[in-house]
Amino acid sequence: MDGVTGEVRDPGLQPERTRLAWRRTTLSCTVAAVLAARQAVHGGDVSAAGVLGAGLSLLVWVAFLVVAHRRIAALGRGRPRALRGPAAVAAAGCTVALAGFAVAVVL
């Protein structure tokens, strides 16, 4: 696989599996963000608050993409370091932000 430059490849393909896990998670985040944006501009009447909500969910999605992209790039090295705390908190923060946004819309 391209991007993997290690002296010794791990026969269990752990870095690749972890990269794919990040991709799956990015897909899940995309679905949630699309639902959030759809919720924001629901019902046809596009108000300023709706546009703001859609923009915010897009922003959360982009933030997750950045975190995932950086981690995937780091996993391309032969012997990747462990995930860093702030990246994990940022990834989880995107989920919490979408949930909080949803609560604001639902109520």
């Binding site: 599996r17 998670t25 990747p80």
Partner: protein, 130 residues
């Protein structure tokens, strides 16, 4: 609760995790990371479910719809926060050579999901008959 405060500080300072014990085999850290991501996906799916309940079940009574959406959204947010916490605790346990932390969170989560599913079945059935 003091333990939890210390864990939360660990979330943000990877070097403090790194000070303790020995670096485990990187494959164990990656496995821990994948577990974290799996929990994160679970949380995202629950949040997506919360959005879906609100958007695709407009015929339900307001209270039922909002109640189910809030339970799903709360479970999703909790899942994400707990994913970080569990990841940090596992990472630390591996560095110290301790047993991995045990947790009753999966049992509580499955109970909550089961209850929401039951509520949805009841809502749909009562919608058909009534």
């Amino acid at each position: 609760m003091g333990d939890f405060g210390r864990d939360v500080r660990l979330w943000f300072s990877p070097q403090r995790v790194r000070e303790e014990g020995e670096t485990p085999d990187y494959r164990f850290s990656l496995a821990n990371e994948r577990t974290f991501l799996a929990w994160l996906r679970t949380g995202l799916a629950l949040v997506g479910g919360g959005f879906a309940v609100d958007q695709f079940l407009p015929d339900l009574r307001w209270g039922v719809r909002v109640g189910m959406a809030l339970v799903l959204l709360g479970a999703g947010a909790l899942c994400a926060l707990r994913a970080v916490n569990h990841w940090v605790r596992c990472e630390r346990a591996m560095r110290r050579g301790e047993d991995l932390p045990v947790s009753r969170f999966p049992a509580l989560l499955s109970l909550a999901v089961g209850l929401v599913a039951l509520a949805m079945v009841l809502a749909v059935v009562s919608g058909w008959t009534g």
